[in-house]
């Protein structure tokens, strides 16, 4: 019985952190947010040098053969540094493709995703909740409609699409009939796209039931990784709030000695720490194929959203007016947490799924 990260995991996480601290300073975050694509690609390249892209892929596909827990602790560091890149997109797609076992088509895609030859865009939004005017359908092997919030849609060579039916379709992102429209969110460190498909040929991976499993796995991994990303961002916001409170003086003393400020920081820590454990637990359950994994991931995703609102606001409040400015850059994390709250299912919708999973909704 050991509920903790292994030495290997800790040292892997430390290398990712060290790399990102060098490679993705606040200046780089600013550059990325200002639209500097080169800056974002440099971070991606540095991460690729560590081989993280294939963390969850088997050795046979060129991956590291590790699990979701490993992906989670990498993603936490990515969120911690507010780093750009398609790490989570690759992990999501690899998790989906692994449902097909070693079938040649799926394995071929996976190998290409791991190597970076195929850079995936991930289109899950229409599986989670269809907003006005969106929606997708497959007619005679061709995809029609539009998908919102495609992760990494801008850099994608291929889009991996969860169809409402539960199938997984793959479309060449450069094919005629594919149009990509950038969506600008408050979080400019990550890129989302709307993609329109005007009767574009789609490869649907064989085996309907397997594809349903693939899409479910993709959704689960997407949710847990976005929760882990938010966790990293929350951790850094708390640390920075404490550090700021020990520097900044008001009324002749550091504000970190005021009880109101201390208690705000204590409340952040008290909510953050159990969230971390819940995310780890959910990842481990997923890796073990435990029955509880689905529920744990839904709970982790929705809980991260709630803790995130509280910490993003409270850490900003500890910074006073300075937290509101661009000078300290705290808002990049604030916004990243705000976007993660809504991605891949807002907390209310995710809790409804958790109720359904437990048989607590009759209809």
């Amino acid at each position: 019985m050991d509920f903790s990260l292994s030495e290997d995991q800790l040292s892997f996480q430390a290398s990712v952190r060290g790399l990102l601290e060098r490679s993705c300073s606040l200046d780089v975050v600013r550059a990325v947010a200002a639209g500097d694509r080169g800056a974002a690609e440099r971070v991606v390249r540095d991460l690729d040098a560590l081989g993280v892209r294939g963390v969850m892929a088997p050795d046979a596909a060129g991956g590291l053969g590790l699990g979701l827990l490993d992906a989670v602790i990498i993603q936490e560091m990515i969120g911690r540094q507010c780093a750009p890149g398609d790490f989570s997109g690759a992990a999501i797609v690899i998790a989906g493709l692994s449902s097909f076992g070693g079938t040649s088509a799926a394995r071929a895609w996976m190998t290409k995703v791991v190597s970076g030859e195929v850079r995936p865009g991930v289109a899950l939004a229409e599986r989670i909740g269809v907003r006005d005017g969106t929606g997708l359908r497959l007619e005679g092997g061709r995809l029609l409609g539009r998908s919102l919030f495609v992760a990494d849609g801008d850099t994608a060579t291929h889009v991996f699409i969860a169809l409402p039916s539960g199938s997984l379709a793959i479309v060449d992102a450069t094919a005629p009939g594919v149009s990509r429209v950038p969506l600008r969110t408050i979080d400019a460190t990550r890129v989302f796209s709307e993609i329109l498909f005007d009767g574009v040929p789609a490869e649907v991976l064989t085996g309907e039931s397997l594809a349903g499993a693939a899409v479910n796995r993709m959704t689960a991994v997407a949710r847990l990784l976005v929760a882990a990303d938010a966790l990293g961002a929350m951790q850094v916001m708390l640390e920075r709030a404490v550090a700021y409170s020990l520097e900044r003086k008001q009324f002749g003393r550091v504000i970190g000695s005021f009880q109101a400020v201390k208690h705000m920081c204590a409340e952040m820590a008290a909510r953050l720490e159990p969230l971390r454990a819940l995310i780890w637990h959910a990842a481990h359950a997923f890796d073990e194929g435990s029955e509880e994994a689905d529920l744990l991931i839904l709970l982790a995703k929705s809980h991260a959203a709630e803790v995130g609102v509280f910490i993003a606001r409270t850490a900003t409040e500890v910074h006073g007016g300075m937290g509101f400015t661009d000078l300290v850059g705290l808002h990049y994390w604030f916004k990243r947490i705000g976007v993660s709250r809504q991605l891949f299912g807002a907390p209310e919708a995710v809790r409804r799924e958790a109720a359904r999973l437990q048989g607590w909704v009759s209809s």
């Binding site: 909740g129 269809v130 969506l183 002749g252 003393r253 409040e317 006073g320 661009d326």
Partner: protein, 397 residues
């Protein structure tokens, strides 16, 4: 209790309504950009002339010299809201400096500044906050040293809005470095064109420079530009701050904001079902509606007290804390109800309401934490409203 208007006030409302409706073609629109756009200045002239702006400012200084009547002021602002016409100018010069000069300025200062300020020809900014003294004004360090007939100012201000557009600044500086903290400050008026002033826009989390930093290097200001006596700046500023508090947390605006969220929830759908049919969001909406209506009733109570010349007491002290928080919560509900669409920003496709809700969510957070933080408001409520003691001085300080 009687919420009806007297015949006099009913007549006044009819008068204001007909004035505004009859001159709506003069009202500037969003397209008439710039604080001194000729159409804006002309509209302000018209409003001054008709007593719809600066109603109680004495005629000698460019106002209408009418007796204070909070109800008439309220009727005026309600009619502007109803007709959607451009409201009277309301920068910091008009809302904060003018009342201060009327109370504590010299006759010369009043003559020189009030008229042009009211007419919108002279724009002001406020120099209070400093990097080292956000909520603790008494600790400010910008210094003004007497040199002949001038003060020579060195230091830095922050959170200065409209500094780029301002002609003038009203500014707190430390003139008596040896006096106790609160007694060493003076209140100066000077031109933003004075040599030695540098302005740096301060981009905030909304992505806009709503505020600025202002740096002073050997800025020379004639000594007569002081309001009150040297060392009285704290008292003068507090008179001004009192005027500021009234500006924030307008409950009618909160109600309008809430109703906009209700409209969004009726309009937007997920999986073909309107958000209003989601009981979880609907419950949150109505819980917020109750808070909005409560703040509106609280506002009526404050106004009634003011009408009778009484102190509104606790009902007045809590407005800023509750009002800002409530607005922030309303924006948060709007964002949550819109889900993924609620995080869109700038000029993204699928953006709803011009991204206004994220803008408000962040800007209101700025109001909660800046310019007299929630923390300070709670200190004020507990000390002035509940009679609890001030934080004891630290033994180390």
């Amino acid at each position: 209790m009687d919420l009806r208007l007297s015949p006099e006030h009913q007549a006044f409302r009819a008068h204001v309504a007909s004035l505004l409706e009859g001159h709506s073609h003069l009202s500037p629109t969003a397209a008439d950009r710039g604080l001194k756009h000729p159409k804006r200045l002309a509209w302000q002239s018209f409003l001054l002339q008709e007593g719809l702006a600066a109603r109680t400012v004495p005629a000698a200084y460019g106002g209408r010299g009418e007796a204070p009547d909070i109800l008439k002021s309220r009727i005026i602002s309600e009619e502007f809201a109803r007709t959607g016409l451009a409201p009277p100018l309301a920068g910091q010069g008009i809302s904060m400096l003018v009342p201060t000069l009327l109370e504590l300025g010299t006759e010369e200062q009043r003559q020189a500044y009030i008229g042009p300020t009211l007419r919108g020809e002279m724009v002001w900014c406020q120099g209070y906050s400093e990097p080292g003294s956000g909520s603790d004004l008494a600790s400010l360090t910008t210094r003004a040293v007497v040199d002949g007939d001038d003060y020579v100012i060195n230091g830095q201000k922050i959170w200065t809005s409209t500094a780029m557009q301002a002609d003038m600044i009203f500014c707190l500086v430390r003139t008596e470095p040896d006096a106790p903290a609160h007694q060493g400050i003076s209140y100066l008026l000077f031109s933003m064109k004075t040599p030695g002033i540098e302005i740096r826009p301060l981009v905030d989390m909304t992505g806009t420079a709503n505020f600025n930093e202002v740096f002073f290097t050997d800025v020379r200001v004639p000594r007569r530009q002081i309001v009150g006596k040297p060392g009285e700046g704290w008292k003068v500023a507090n008179a001004t701050l009192t005027h500021e508090r009234g500006m924030l947390g307008d409950p009618s605006a909160s109600r309008a904001r809430l109703m906009r969220v209700a409209e969004i929830m009726q309009r937007e759908t997920v999986d073909g079902r309107s958000l209003m049919e989601d009981p979880v969001f609907r419950d949150r909406l109505i819980a917020l509606q109750a808070r909005v209506f409560a703040m509106q009733a609280n506002g009526l109570r404050v106004m009634s007290a003011q009408l009778k010349g009484e102190s509104p007491g606790m009902a007045g002290l809590i407005i800023k804390l509750e009002g800002c928080e409530l607005n922030h919560e309303i924006a948060r509900l709007a964002i949550d109800a819109m889900g993924e669409l609620g995080i869109l920003y700038d000029d993204s496709p699928h953006l709803r309401d011009d991204g206004d809700w994220q803008q408000k969510y962040m800007y209101d957070l700025g109001l909660i934490i800046g310019g007299g933080t929630a923390q300070i408001q709670k200190n004020i409520i507990s000390e002035r409203g509940l009679g609890m003691p001030r934080e004891p001085k630290s033994a180390k300080a």
